[in-house]
């Protein structure tokens, strides 16, 4: 039976040799290699739940009056977009489950990408010949950030409207073209032309997902053609031979199990833990605002930067040349992105190492890189935490003003300290290993043959 299916397929497609090769493709099996897979599976969940949501969502700002089953909004005027999401949440069976699963998947998708990036960075997996794979990964991360932002902005609730206003302010602050670009995107000064909603929608459900999908395909194709990296093994010449479990039968139950587990965790969260309860926020108007407005976690670093930057515009005569949101909303993420993208080449230039590498380094094997990476991570993390300082005030009672001043200073000092400690720690670990090795050698030589 299986033989006949194989023969049928092979005779039509000629793919038997390729299939055989695929089935016996070797996966190095260190656990940290699976983090990227988690991101991939979260993306699959996103596409699946997202398609379902499009069947109910109306991307329109036309006004309507809500008459659904959620009492506090009944009789309120709102956009069709917002009304359709409230309707989906309360009056479509399983609608809320799918919506929440979608949102949790977005949060986890980007978190998994970040963890994966951290793994890749600290083990030097981006080195030649895998720089392209790495670059595509960074591009995907930033595309995913934009995709997520558009996703929660589409709903047109109070929080999303405030987020869009900030996005508009950031777009306006772009050098030279800010005003023109914002008009091209929004079609009209904020809140924009009604067609802006169609633009956002098609961006969120088609253009950006396609882009992510395309980048994902290229990312995976490059991984497959260059093969995975691996950690050093004593038993094999690791630079030449990759060791691991073949796709089939060994890897399939593991990866498939992980995929289904990712979906399971997300669905469980989607059913049990409330995320973005838009019915509580109410509809958006340009003249309304709520305290404690926050973006989803993955844009927290940007709100942190926007809040930390002191009042400082570049003004020439009666013209504002650089409006304030540029510093935190444009320059800061561009610096982060550029640093991440250029890193492989910067490192190559600094170390002069132009060889190809298949074997990973442990963080301690490259103390300088580990130090710089830890410092960089601490820098972004501090700014990220500053974004939640209004909530820290409410929960911990620490004065907002002192937090802001603390962060304004600490974002420059703490990263340096963290970097130095990480660097020193790596050296210490290596030193211990050397002592250990010497001791073993001494014991060996003391023992008679």
């Amino acid at each position: 039976m299986i033989r006949r299916a194989i023969r049928f397929l092979d005779q039509r497609s000629g793919s038997a040799p390729l299939l055989k090769k695929t089935l016996r493709y070797v996966f190095p099996d260190h656990w940290s290699f699976l983090l990227g897979e988690v991101a991939l599976y979260a993306f699959i969940v996103l596409v699946a739940t997202g398609v379902y949501l499009t069947l109910f969502f109306e991307p329109s700002t036309a006004k309507t009056v809500y008459h659904g089953s959620y009492a506090p909004l009944r009789g309120m005027e709102m956009s069709r977009a917002y009304a359709s999401v409230v309707h989906l949440s309360f009056d479509v069976k399983a609608g809320l489950l799918i919506r929440q699963t979608h949102h949790w998947a977005a949060d986890v998708f980007i978190a998994a990408i970040v963890l994966h990036l951290i793994r890749v960075f600290f083990t030097g997996a981006y080195r030649k010949p895998r720089e392209l794979t790495y670059l595509i990964g960074i591009l995907m991360l930033f595309t995913a950030l934009l995709e997520g932002y558009l996703g929660y902005s589409l709903v047109d609730d109070l929080l999303s409207g405030m987020g869009l206003a900030i996005g508009y302010g950031v777009a306006l602050s772009l050098p030279f073209v800010g005003g023109n670009l914002a008009l091209a995107i929004w079609g009209h000064p904020f809140p924009g032309d009604p067609s802006f909603w169609s633009r956002m929608y098609i961006g969120h459900v088609l253009i950006l997902p396609l882009l992510i999908g395309g980048l994902l395909a290229a990312h995976l194709a490059l991984v497959a053609s260059r093969h995975h990296t691996q950690f050093q093994r004593r038993s094999v010449p690791s630079e030449r031979k990759v060791v691991g479990i073949p796709t089939f039968p060994g890897q399939v139950p593991r990866s498939l199990g992980l995929m289904i587990a990712v979906a399971g965790v997300l669905v469980l969260l989607g059913g049990l833990v409330q995320i973005n309860p838009v019915w509580l926020w109410g509809p958006y108007h340009v003249y309304d605002g709520t305290n404690g407005a926050q973006p989803d976690w993955y844009l927290g670093w940007l709100i942190g930067a926007l809040r930390l930057v002191p009042s400082f515009d570049v003004v020439v005569g009666n013209r504002t040349l650089v409006p304030n949101p540029f510093w935190g909303g444009v320059l800061f993420p561009l610096v982060v992105m550029a640093a991440l993208m250029l890193w492989p080449w910067l490192e190559r230039r600094a170390t002069g190492d132009r060889r190809a590498h298949n074997v990973l380094q442990r963080p301690r094997d490259a103390p300088v890189r580990t130090g710089i990476g830890a410092g960089f991570l601490a820098w972004v993390a501090m700014i990220f935490m500053a974004g939640a300082s209004d909530r820290a005030l409410v929960f911990l009672g620490i004065s907002y003003m002192s937090q802001i001043w603390f962060y304004r200073v600490a974002v420059w000092i703490v990263p340096v300290l963290v970097g130095l400690v990480a660097w020193r720690f790596c050296l210490a670990l290596r030193g211990m290993e050397e002592v250990q090795a010497e001791r073993e050698a001494a014991v060996r030589s003391a023992q008679p043959e």
């Binding site: 290699f33 309120m76 992980l258 309860p277 976690w297």
Partner: protein
């Protein structure tokens, strides 16, 4: 003394200091209750309590202390606004929410367990009202029929500080209280008084009807419709991000560690 002994001693000292700090942070129990007890007339009880607990900042006849002097008139050392004409409403609000008396003049009054019992609060309120005129304690009747109007009004007037579900927030200079414990009367009082940095909304702006709608919305927001499951505080993305990282990603990364090989030899 061995090293471990020293460590233990240090830990004990540290714990002791922490306890002391904790005790320091406890609300001041230093209010004076009238000795006469239940036999006294209400106004007399109020006057005694006021003199003992309030007068150092508000003046003996509620005239306020604008320029405090060390050991000045009547030993007044605090600084506080005049209470003439505030009526029963303000003392009732500040005392029932434990916001007064303050430990230090000028600090933000925060909600805590009231320092006085109900009879004492009524007595002080009556005494303050006797300074002259002022509003009575309001008796709101939350109108549960018009939640959506209440929500719109709350969004326009209140959400900027109190957050749309009443979970509190920040305004430069103050921490905005969470509305979870506020009673309808206290909400009505606060809207009219404008405690600390809060605006004072007059009848001409928020009518009694509108106020009732707002109160109805706030009371409903205390137990919002958590159709999606565990509400994680109703403040949006901050706790959501924590769940994503500390629950979902933690579990999934742990699962990766179960599936994959953990050592690199």
């Amino acid at each position: 003394m061995s090293r471990s002994r020293k460590a233990i001693l240090g830990a004990v000292l540290l714990a002791g200091m922490a306890l002391a700090a904790l005790a320091e942070a406890q609300p001041p129990s230093g209010v004076t209750h009238a000795p006469g007890g239940s036999q006294q007339k209400q106004l007399q009880l109020g006057a005694e309590l006021f003199a003992a607990n309030c007068a150092s900042c508000h003046g003996f006849r509620g005239e306020g202390v604008l320029t405090p002097r060390e050991n000045g008139v009547g030993g007044a050392t605090g600084q506080g606004p005049s209470l003439i004409g505030v009526g029963e409403m303000a003392p009732d609000f500040y005392l029932r929410t434990g916001r007064m008396p303050l430990e230090h003049a000028g600090e933000e009054p925060e909600r805590q367990r009231p320092f006085f019992n109900s009879r004492e609060i009524e007595a002080i309120s009556a005494y303050v009202a006797s300074f002259g005129g002022g509003p009575k304690i309001p008796e709101p009747k939350p109108d549960y029929g018009s939640l959506s109007e209440g929500m719109s009004l709350f969004t326009e007037h209140c959400a900027g500080c109190h957050q749309i579900v009443g979970e509190g927030g920040y305004v430069p200079g103050a921490k905005v209280p969470v509305l979870g414990h506020a009673t309808p009367t206290q909400i009505a009082e606060a809207v009219r008084i404008g405690p600390f940095l809060m605006p004072k909304f007059p009848q001409s702006q928020i009518s009694e009807d509108d106020l009732n709608k707002i109160i109805a919305y706030v009371m409903r927001s205390k137990h919002p419709e958590d159709a999606g499951g565990w509400g994680i505080g109703h403040i949006g993305p901050v706790p959501e991000g924590m769940i994503a990282w500390f629950v979902a990603v933690f579990v999934l990364a742990g699962l990766c560690a179960v599936i994959g090989r953990r050592l690199s030899t």
